[in-house]
């Protein structure tokens, strides 16, 4: 049995009896494995007495869940109205160019995943982005480049060690 399936079974053993357990289980699996691998679906379905189609339906319904692992860094750019009012669309276009990565996709080198998101709740400090779960507000294209530059320096330092 693969390590990832073992992780899925451990989550199921702990949570399968909770009322409405599917979403908490999917969150835990994704938090541990970075995604919900295809071979986890029958395991989860079996434990919750659901069909595989039902589990697949839930995974694909919600934007948060992914079937494939993300790139090394996940960059989210808010494109809701409040951020649009201060240049979010231009920022997203800039991010696509800077990261050489299309929206909703990963860069070919696997370094970045770029995700447009709808509202981070930072609507009075637009535009807002998230880099690897850290929030940044009032982001101009130049500020975006500084943050990505710092990230690249960190990666380079780590690679040199």
């Amino acid at each position: 049995m693969s390590t990832s399936l073992a992780a899925v079974r451990a989550v199921l053993a702990r949570r399968a009896d909770e009322p409405g357990a599917l979403l908490p289980i999917l969150h835990e699996v994704q938090d541990q494995l970075g995604c919900i691998p295809a071979d986890a679906v029958p395991e989860i379905a079996g434990a919750l007495n659901l069909s595989r189609a039902e589990v697949h339906g839930v995974i694909t319904y919600y934007h948060h869940f992914r079937g494939e692992p993300a790139g090394r860094h996940v960059i989210q750019v808010c494109r809701a109205e409040a951020c649009q009012a201060l240049g979010a669309e231009a920022l997203l276009t800039h991010a696509e160019r800077r990261l050489v990565c299309r929206s909703h996709a990963s860069s070919s080198d696997g370094r970045y995943t770029l995700e447009p998101v709808f509202c981070l709740g930072l609507c009075a400090s637009s535009p807002a982005i998230v880099i690897d779960e850290r929030l940044h507000a009032r982001i101009s294209p130049a500020a975006f480049d500084r943050l990505i530059g710092a990230l690249e320096n960190e990666d380079a330092e780590e690679a040199a060690r």
Partner: protein, 520 residues
């Protein structure tokens, strides 16, 4: 050794996003280097976001504010006498006297920024648990009646009287009832729920506990969007602390009555902010809207009677119980009683949380509080009530903000979000975006929303490309009419609001002749 001076640096997401952690770390390091005793508290945010990170220093004359502070500012601020509250270019004097704050009527947000969000002692010292204690001494029906008498209406947007929901659940017999908090705050331009969960979580816990005891529910869930990791972490921490202190759990404050509360993380589906879709999601299914009836109050979560309210609705309850219904009801106008935490957002100079009694006008909010646009250009469009809200034309900016007055001209107050756009905004593009958003986020159950939104994008594209424009404009209006009248929930039913208001008030952006502006 001098006595430690208390300095507060907020831990609200919006402060963290502009570097509050770095400011706090620099303050600590710099004070240590200088041998100055510092008592650093991470408070909630006052909601004056253009000043974040807002550093507050406790002085004999009260708290003194500085902001926005960067780590580079810290040595200079300390040189100037930050710890004594001395004047500085970044200084704003006593926090409470900053006009933006002084002009507000903070009931729900009275503690916001004052306290350490997770400190039970702080909460208790600022009127915390007074509502719950009073409720425990009253008959259940009297608690529900108090909420009814306060005039509180659902702050999530639908504005349904909260007390009536509670009464229905109370009067529906069942072995298991539930309390569900809708914290799926997906509307762009809104953040009052997030602030409450991050900055004053016990207020929400107290409100939900009062609801549970009043209607006879023993289990509750807070459904929080996955985009709010800090809110989820703070709430989980607060629930654990409240439980350990006996405010939650199997014996609430020694009453012998139980209330177990749990946080559930959402997964990024906007439509789950609709209450029945939210319940489906809590049950572990796709967040598909249910047909009503049956009402959730009768058949809600797992088919049981369920009180489902927004964060701010629950958060308004402790004060109503602590001070009585009349105190709350005396704020506001007409049938819109109490206060609304309004959120100024988008292209606005002073964006932030403004809690005012109903009846304040948009013009006061945009200029007296907001100070106009951040870009310095003229305001062109103002969307009130979230992404499904109307673009309110300038001719309506003096209408008092209340549910009925807004409904009278086709507007919605919604969850109190106000998004400002300057004159560079392209209203046809924003209208197209509203349709596109509906197409992406539609749950797919009803045809007007699922198909109508996609057709809406196509029709707007043909209008802007001037392909048979007059006929397409008529088609767009017909389509909007079908969505308005035929959709199962507000997702499809309200998407026409931003679309039609953009078309009606900014026809030139769609390539149409401008009508008489005065008539707009």
């Amino acid at each position: 050794m001098s006595t430690a001076i208390t300095v507060r640096v907020p831990r609200d997401s919006a402060a963290l996003a502009v570097g509050a952690d770095a400011v706090a770390a620099t303050l600590q390091a710099e004070c240590a280097r200088r041998g100055l005793a510092l008592n650093l508290v991470r408070n909630g945010s006052r909601g004056l976001f253009w000043l974040e990170p807002l550093v507050e220093v406790s002085t004999s004359a009260g708290r003194v504010a500085y902001g926005p502070v960067t780590p580079e500012d810290v040595p200079g601020l300390l040189d100037a006498g930050l710890l004594q509250g001395a004047p500085h270019a970044l200084g704003h004097g006593p926090t409470e006297q900053i006009p933006y704050l002084a002009k507000q009527e903070r009931l729900c947000f009275a503690r916001m920024g004052l306290t350490d969000p997770l400190s039970l002692a702080d909460y208790e010292a600022h009127e915390g648990w007074a509502g719950l204690r009073r409720a425990l001494a009253m008959p259940d029906a009297a608690v529900v009646d108090e909420v009814l008498q306060s005039g509180l209406r659902g702050r999530g947007g639908a504005a349904f009287p909260t007390g009536i929901k509670w009464k229905t659940v109370m009067n529906t017999p069942s072995a298991q009832k539930y309390i569900v908090c809708n914290a799926d705050e997906g509307d762009s331009g809104t953040y009052s729920d997030r602030m409450t969960m991050e900055g004053d979580p016990y207020m929400l816990i107290e409100g939900m506990t009062i609801a549970a005891l009043a209607v006879g529910a023993t289990r509750g869930y807070v459904y929080v969007r996955s985009e709010y990791p800090h809110a989820i972490a703070t709430l989980n921490d607060a629930i654990a602390r409240a439980e350990a202190a006996g405010f939650l759990g199997s014996d609430v404050l020694g009453s012998g009555r139980a209330f177990h509360l749990q946080v559930r993380k959402a997964a990024g589906a906007y439509v789950c902010g609709e209450e029945t879709a939210l319940l489906e999601s809590l049950e572990g299914k796709r967040g598909i809207v249910r047909a009503k009836p049956p009402l959730p109050a009768i058949e809600g979560l797992f088919g049981q009677p369920t009180v489902i309210n927004n964060v701010i609705s629950f958060a308004s309850v402790p004060l109503i119980l602590a001070r009585g219904a009349a105190h709350y009801r005396d704020y506001g106008v007409g049938r819109s009683m109490g206060t609304l935490p309004i959120q100024l957002a988008g292209n606005v100079k002073r964006g932030g949380l403004v809690e005012k009694a109903f009846g304040v006008t948009l013009r006061e909010l945009l200029y007296d509080f907001g100070g106009g646009t951040a870009s310095g250009r003229p305001i062109k469009a103002v969307q009130v009530g979230g992404p499904l809200g109307t673009y309110v034309p300038e001719s309506k900016w003096d209408v008092p903000l209340d549910y009925e007055a807004y409904a009278a001209f086709g507007g919605v107050v919604g969850h109190g979000g106000i998004v400002v756009h300057d004159d560079t905004a392209d209203m046809a593009k924003l209208a197209r975006y509203a349709m596109e958003f509906c197409a992406i986020e539609s749950c797919g159950k009803c045809t007007p929303c699922r198909i109508g939104s996609t057709r809406g994008v196509e029709v707007i594209d043909r209008i802007t490309a001037n392909v048979n424009r007059p006929a397409q404009v008529k088609l767009l209006r017909d389509l909007c009419d079908t969505m308005l009248a035929g959709s199962l929930c507000a997702m499809g039913g309200m998407t026409p609001y931003p679309v039609l208001s953009a078309l009606d008030h900014y026809p030139e952006d769609f390539g149409l002749a401008t009508p008489d502006r005065a008539a707009a």
